[in-house]
């Protein structure tokens, strides 16, 4: 790659300008170039000089050395060195002294090429002639692009084109001479739609039903049905938003409390399809659980002024929601856009508890920027308001109907996700012009007009004809001109790839690391599906207020008539417990605020089982033996135990859940063998119910629900809900230390090495092969090949593929052979790409 000469130096910045000599008198030994003799026209002769050499630091909102060429008034006013243009006296104008280079150590412009003597002569003549300035010309900040709402009318509908997106695009296609290429077939469409809405491959059954559906509107119907899969939708979009909001279950900063997760809030917001304006409000002016985004990431020690939490908040909310890059401006007036240090501090200050002194490239300036939003035309923020009120005001401004930058930014991100490239590029620079302004503006307006319903926007995009066009390769001219010819061929994300491997093999993660309430049904939250609601139990009702320090033994025999497909247990105890299942100790715990989530499946047998728990209520004040020692005591347990089966293609489920209630028996004294099923002992009494998890004094309703809902995900947990591993990292899952709004998708050698010999994928495929073979009893190699093609590629193998794979697998099924066959299939571009 050819190194490009770069004129702008990151470290350089405009210094306040000072007089060349101590006494303020220009050195007369260097004569100034003579003034031009002709009559000067500002627009034709002066404007080009200013634009080429001056306004980068002294215009477009910037005022290096406090000198601004925004208009004649500011120019005549001068900067820190006083007036620099004296109309009628160019020899006495400091500007001329600077551009002529009288003092070699203090020449303007500081960056770029120096003015020629002829140019200096023109400037002199202009000043001598009175420094006349056309009123209609200024060098202020350019008007903000893509900011104000605009709702273009839909063009007339050509024959057969009804969808608004297609109507908007049709004139474009006519102008670009692009013919309709026809639509992809049902299987390709379904795979696309599934992956784009819920991130999963369709199952063979779902695909077959869809393909055989004769309904003309079935594609729209499918998109709507998928958008209605609230939990699956939330699990998929969690990845996108985790990247953008840099939320993760592990990462830097957590060791010192320098970071906070927002997973619970985010998952709930996605599952409920929170209107986007409210979504943004709850992040910008954080509601409980959403603070982490604007809290930022702090490492131990001192932090550079350009990376304080307030500045991180300013940078990140500008980037994610407004498509504005304030990163350069956090340190100095930006060289790449019009943002200034004062803009960045103006926004950061909104979040600051105390006024923030501006720091210019690590040097304190002694100045405080006026508080403001980056687009003050949307409204002001009263600096005298307390912080909470300022945040509320900021959230208001950002989500007001007048701020169509917010809506344009998100619809552009969605378009890019589905079509492979944005209507505006780069996605994080929304000052750029869209290749289809009307389409961008229309989507933004439509979103605002429909209660900021992102699912509506997604549905509109995915039901358009253009979304159903065959995918195309990135145009050869990658850096240059882009013409839309249909969605780009895309690659599965790391999470999509892993989930696809899981769909193919039937093996998923056991439990989520993400902490959220996963009990989402189409009606929103629904907890009534539980046959049992666990309650706190103890030996007497008074235990809520206080029970004597004591050890209590608990027993519950339970009949599980079928081997469970899934079995997990959640338990909390005030103060300590030791849990035995069928005599084997499987867990201990001592903090009821953090209920334990356990894999129960390996410990269960078909038939009668015995759960036995030894609990201890500790004394309230062990250090003061004479004090009252009673303290609250309680035990709460929920076992999620299900048997799933399929009969004639229909899935069914047997619910065998168990929870603490008054059927549990307790005793204060036991003999050896009390954990055995046939232990008799004496004096077993029935538990007393104290109330559900949220009951005082424990009040752990929310964390309990998180744990319970996690138990119910047993063995079906998707890649988005677990921390990154070497495979996910290699496939491009970012470490979420910075905001990431699009991931690189090209395959790399290190990635291929991880896929080829990495332990993580090898283990998945080993388990997957076992599971696949177990799920298909009596299946021969041929059946396995056919089923794998149907699950993984959404189609039957061609006769040639079938013959090849069959020959390779041999006559009898070997796990290693299946494993290798699965590996080969998941390496295929057909598997890894979205066509």
């Amino acid at each position: 790659m050819t190194p490009v000469q770069l004129i702008l130096i990151g470290a350089g910045f405009v210094l306040a300008t000072f007089r060349a000599t101590a006494d303020g008198v220009p050195d007369e030994s260097r004569p100034l170039p003579a003034a031009a003799s002709h009559s000067i026209q500002f627009e034709r002769e002066i404007k080009p000089i200013f634009e080429a050499s001056c306004v980068q630091c002294h215009g477009r909102g910037k005022a290096g050395g406090k000198f601004s060429l925004e208009n004649r008034d500011t120019a005549l006013r001068g900067g820190v060195s006083g007036p620099s243009i004296v109309p009628g006296d160019s020899a006495g104008s400091y500007l001329i002294e600077l551009v002529a280079g009288v003092d070699p150590d203090n020449v303007m412009p500081q960056k770029g090429t120096r003015l020629t003597p002829a140019q200096v002569g023109v400037l002199r003549a202009w000043i001598d002639q009175g420094a006349l300035w056309d009123d209609n010309i200024g060098f202020g900040r350019a008007p903000a692009a893509n900011l104000m709402p605009r709702r273009p009318d839909l063009p007339p509908a050509p024959l057969g084109i009804t969808h608004p997106v297609d109507r908007l695009l049709w004139p474009y296609f006519a102008a670009q001479r692009i013919d309709r290429p026809g639509l992809v077939d049902d299987r390709v469409f379904a795979r696309r739609a599934y992956l784009d809405v819920i991130g999963l491959l369709p199952t063979p059954l779902e695909l077959d039903l869809f393909v055989s559906d004769a309904n003309r509107d079935k594609r729209t119907g499918l998109v709507r049905r998928l958008l209605g899969e609230h939990r699956l939708y939330a699990e998929h979009w969690l990845t996108f938003w985790n990247d953008a909001l840099r939320n993760d279950y592990r990462g830097t900063g957590y060791i010192d409390g320098g970071r906070q997760q927002i997973t619970g809030w985010l998952f709930g917001a996605l599952a409920a399809n929170l209107p986007f304006d409210r979504f943004v409000r709850e992040l910008v002016d954080p509601v409980p659980g959403a603070e982490g985004f604007t809290k930022g990431i702090t490492w131990r020690g001192v932090v550079n002024a350009s990376q304080t939490p307030e500045m991180q908040a300013a940078q990140n909310l500008s980037q994610v929601f407004m498509g504005v890059n304030l990163k350069c401006a956090s340190c100095h007036d930006s060289f790449i856009n019009d943002w200034t240090l004062a803009d960045a501090y103006g926004l950061a200050g909104v979040y600051a508890e105390h006024s923030l002194e501006m720091v210019l490239c690590d040097k304190p300036t002694g100045e405080v920027a006026p508080l403001k939003f980056i687009y003050p035309q949307l409204g002001v923020i009263d600096p005298t308001l307390p912080r909470e009120a300022r945040l509320k005001r900021l959230a208001e401004l950002m989500t007001s109907r007048d701020n169509a930058r917010l809506t344009r930014t998100i619809v552009n991100r969605l378009w890019a996700k589905f079509m492979g490239r944005g209507l505006v590029e780069p996605l994080d620079d929304m000052e750029q012009v869209s290749w289809h302004v009307d389409l961008l503006d229309w989507f933004a307006a439509d979103l605002a007009e429909h209660d900021y319903d992102l699912k509506r926007t997604i549905e509109l995009m995915l039901t358009s004809e253009v979304y159903q066009w065959p995918a195309v390769s990135l145009p050869e001219d990658a850096a240059g001109h882009y013409t839309f010819r249909g969605p780009l061929i895309r690659r599965l994300s790391a999470e999509q790839y892993l989930d696809a491997v899981s769909s193919l093999t039937g093996t998923w993660h056991l439990f989520p690391s993400a902490r959220a309430d996963f009990d989402i049904t189409p009606d929103g939250r629904n907890r009534n599906h539980l046959p049992v609601e666990p309650v706190w139990i103890w030996t007497a009702l008074e235990a809520r207020d206080g029970a004597a320090p004591q050890t209590v033994y608990w027993r519950r025999t339970v009949h599980w008539p079928m081997a469970p497909s899934e079995a997990a247990l959640v338990i909390a105890c005030d103060n300590r417990f030791k849990l035995f299942v069928n005599e084997r100790e499987i867990a201990t715990g001592s903090d009821f605020r953090q209920p334990k989530l356990l894999d129960l499946k390996p410990h269960i047998r078909v038939g009668t089982n015995i759960l036995a728990i030894e609990t201890v209520n500790d004394p309230a004040r062990p250090d003061e033996p004479s004090a009252r020692q009673e303290s609250p005591a309680g035990l709460i347990v929920y076992a999620f135990v299900r048997h799933r089966g399929t009969r004639e293609g229909i899935e069914w489920e047997k619910n065998m859940d168990v929870a603490t209630d008054d059927r549990w028996l307790w005793s204060e004294t036991v003999d050896d063998g009390w954990t055995k099923l046939d232990y008799r002992g004496e004096d077993w009494r029935r538990a007393v119910e104290l109330g559900p998890a949220g009951t005082a004094p424990w009040q752990i309703g929310d964390t309990w629900q998180v744990a319970e809902s996690s138990a119910r995900l047993y063995g079906r947990v998707r890649a988005a809900l677990v921390p990154s591993d070497p495979l996910l990292t290699a496939l491009g899952r970012p470490n979420r230390e910075q905001v990431v709004t699009s991931r690189p998708t090209a395959a790399t050698t290190l990635q291929a090495l991880e896929l080829t010999n990495g332990e993580t994928l090898a283990n998945w495929l080993r388990r997957g092969a076992e599971r696949l073979v177990a799920d298909l009893p009596d299946a021969g190699p041929r059946d396995i090949v056919i089923e794998s093609y149907r699950r993984g590629l959404g189609r039957a193998p061609t006769p040639e593929e079938l013959r090849l794979a069959e020959v390779w697998l041999g006559t009898t099924v070997h796990l290693s052979g299946v494993e290798d066959f699965l590996w080969a299939m998941t390496m295929l571009p057909e598997f890894q790409l979205i066509r």
């Binding site: 790659m1 000469q5 770069l6 004129i7 702008l8 130096i9 990151g10 470290a11 830097t252 060791i255 010192d256 490492w299 131990r300 020690g301 001192v302 990376q307 940078q315 890059n325 990163k327 350069c328 790449i336 780069p426 390769s473 990135l474 061929i489 970012p734 470490n735 230390e737 910075q738 690189p744 998708t745 090209a746 395959a747 790399t748 050698t749 290190l750 990635q751 291929a752 090495l753 896929l755 010999n757 990495g758 332990e759 090898a762 061609t798 040639e800 593929e801 090849l804 794979a805 290693s816 290798d820 066959f821 080969a824 390496m827 295929l828 571009p829 057909e830 890894q832 790409l833 066509r835």
Partner: protein
Amino acid sequence: VTGHAPLGNDTDPDAMKTKNSWNRRDFLKTASAATLSALAAGYPRALLADEGGDKPEATADTLILLWMAGGMAHTETFDPKRYTPFEPGMSPAALFSTFPTIDTAVDSIKFTAGLEQLASVMDRGALIRSYTAGDLGFILHSRHQYQWHTGYAPPQTVAAPHLGAVVARTLGPLNPVVPAFINIGQRFDVGEGEELKAFHTAGFLGSEYGPFNIPFPDQAADSVRPPAGMSPTRFEDRNRLYRRLLERSPIGEYGGDYQKQSLLRSLDNAHRLLSSPAAKAFDLSLEPLESIRKYVPGYEPGRRFDAALERFGGYEAQTVGRFGLGCLLARRLTEVGARFIEVTTEYIPFLNWDTHENGHTRLVAMKQQIDAPIAQLVRDLEHRGLLDRTLIVVASEFSRDALIEGRPDRKVKDQVEVPDAIHELTHYGMHRHFTDAGCVLLYGGGSRRGYLHGYTAEERPFRTMDNRVVIEDLHATLYRALGISPKLAYEIEQRPFYVTRDGLGQPIRELLVS
């Protein structure tokens, strides 16, 4: 088929020794694949500032960074002060060096005892005694390590690339089948693992240039072998099946899409590495035992280095040899054309060089970890004629002191309680983090021989007195040797990101021959 066999049985030593044995066609193929993926991913473009942008001529092709993770006390290693033996009741203020001083091959340079082998090769290297770590306030090791390895202190607005990634991105692999950035000896599931991950990355340069991680050097061969339990035959069969399915896949009709091409090329590249003769360089079992023992005295094959991470259990002494094998691996990889190799003593909070207690005792073991292998690496590379083009750097994130936390003029929050009088050996050592001095060693690759740069005070505080070296200048020096300008920048979000902080790094000319 089960069983586990190394790739091939060919033990022809010549294949290992010839540095130019890779063929040019492979290189071209790989290069075009890299270009392709770079295009597709929108990987950052290189930018050069117009001033001083001339590409310096390289004096080194390979950089080996030997990382003393956890803070190596200068006064206990390469910058001896008065020897103050342990006396019950001594004041910590009276604690200077806890080791006697020894001579080195250079008259004017002394070390502390326990570094005799390194002392014997001091004439091949340059020693900096004035390295000064960043001023980052309340100390967090991983934060200083991040700054050392990227030149930038976290948090950063963009994901800063590791030194090795910059080298990999800028120079590319030396041998196309050997990953350009190899990282040996660090696990990421230890304390501060997330913070370590944050800089063991190519960051915005793109994962193509990220580290190839080998946490345990004795298991390095596994990283370039088929997955555990898979024989080479089965591995080849599996690959053949993939190719045949690929040929028959209907998607094969869809021509030259870049996504597909990059996918296919990347798998080819991976397969090429896994079946290349260079892969044998990763296999330490092919090294003669007597040669291993020069790096790890008394080494017995099959020895394991997975001692429990026990703070008071003599971890350092139990794992002597792990770093040594890493150095040996670095030598073997250098021979087959590695570009950037880091070998770390491993950062684990409170272990290895991170001595919060028992400093003296543990440093006896730490010196055993490093003394023989580093010296042997220098000798071996010299013997093979590779030292001239290989730059070895020994460095640590900061130093330590018995009393001062941070800098003498800007102390920071203490992390270790130091008693008024030392009665037990536990308290005998450098247990606080000191940022105002530190030692860096350079060998080969165009660095000066037998040269001393900077010095520190003879009385506490043992601070830098002259020729202060900061990270951007140290990096600029390393880059200079590799032929990279300190003002080289990569474009990210339309702005330049310089390989030394803001392009300000200045090579320290005294440290370099040319």
